[in-house]
Assembly symmetry: C2
Homo-oligomer: 204 residues x 2
Amino acid sequence: MTVKERRLREKAELRQEILDAARELFVREGYENFSMRKLAEKIEYSPTTIYLYFKDKADLLFNLCEETFSKLVQQLETIASLATDPLDGLRAGMLAYVEFGVKHPANYLVTFVLPHPIGTPDSERYLCPTGMGLRAFDCLRQAVAECVRAGKFRSLDLEKASQAIWAVLHGVTSLLVVHPDFPWVDRNDLVDQVIETTIEGLKA
Amino acid sequence: MTVKERRLREKAELRQEILDAARELFVREGYENFSMRKLAEKIEYSPTTIYLYFKDKADLLFNLCEETFSKLVQQLETIASLATDPLDGLRAGMLAYVEFGVKHPANYLVTFVLPHPIGTPDSERYLCPTGMGLRAFDCLRQAVAECVRAGKFRSLDLEKASQAIWAVLHGVTSLLVVHPDFPWVDRNDLVDQVIETTIEGLKA
DNA sequence: CTGATATACTTAACATCGTTATGCGAATGC
DNA sequence: GCATTCGCATAACGATGTTAAGTATATCAG
């Protein structure tokens, strides 16, 4: 059976090669200049070959983002584990989220900003069920819970508060990513203002 | 000169007809299924005719959104004029913004969510210089200023606080619009949580 | 070793998109 | 009445995502 294993391994290798090339192209050319055909040219295969490894463009990008966001989750989870004060932990996590989005704009765009064609089975796949997005959100929920338990926050509907915080973070992040030319005040100041205002608004 | 006037009027009429048809198609089919060719078919003209009235697709959509957002500005300005308590005025304005976005998802998408091709002269045209977006933002800034002046809010960097509030509002709105299938808590509760948290966080 | 089958990939094509160059007929101005 | 301008259309270009059909090559059974 060693032959079958080799085949599988080779298939997995090409798949990863495609993903790597896609990421390269994607962050370099930006979202709107990414195309399956350019990707095919880059890896020196026919465009149709990609479809032997990914269902379609959306599937490819989805897998790409899962990879990227696993890094975010990793960051968030280490932050959570290292935090002594629950409030500081939450704050650090919030900051990490925004900075991650600003640092990987193209990736942030696909997973959170761009409207995925609705009505298709795809809409389910994003954000919701399994995946890194869920784990990231769990980090947030847990951080909020600890703030409540420590008496730093008033008694809150955990889910509601967590979603609200996420919304707030997504607001700054997406605006900065999508409209970088808007006459923003200093970026760090703005992010800080948003985070501190939100935290202040949730305190006991 | 009455003949020239008629020509001009006819030209303006067709232009408006195009805009109306575009809006219809746009909100019915959604953003991603809107195309110049479908629009052309709908108005029963050749696709190229549209380009005699609008520079390109982005220009068309921009004008569409200006129309739509003038309604938002109108709402915001009446709210501002009617408000007795500055805090209530701000609150009402914030709520109106979110509800407007949720009610006109397609329009909200083009103006605020979708990344406009950067590097082009277009990027300047959006949000920034003239236009309804600016007027809407002025409403916000003024409302914040009044809250500060009335002593409801602590002393704030007006611009920074206003941008933060906008970011927060955009966060909820865009998430609700882009990811309607996410297992949100009750929509009104979420919006309320975001708004109240933010207001609370800015108080004196 | 030979013939059948499955595998990996390509070529060609379809439908659609935004946009431009060219052309044509009719209304306008002199 | 003639030249011109104006409004619009036809045709085309280049690009997109995606599918159908085909072609080698590698694997496997006898």
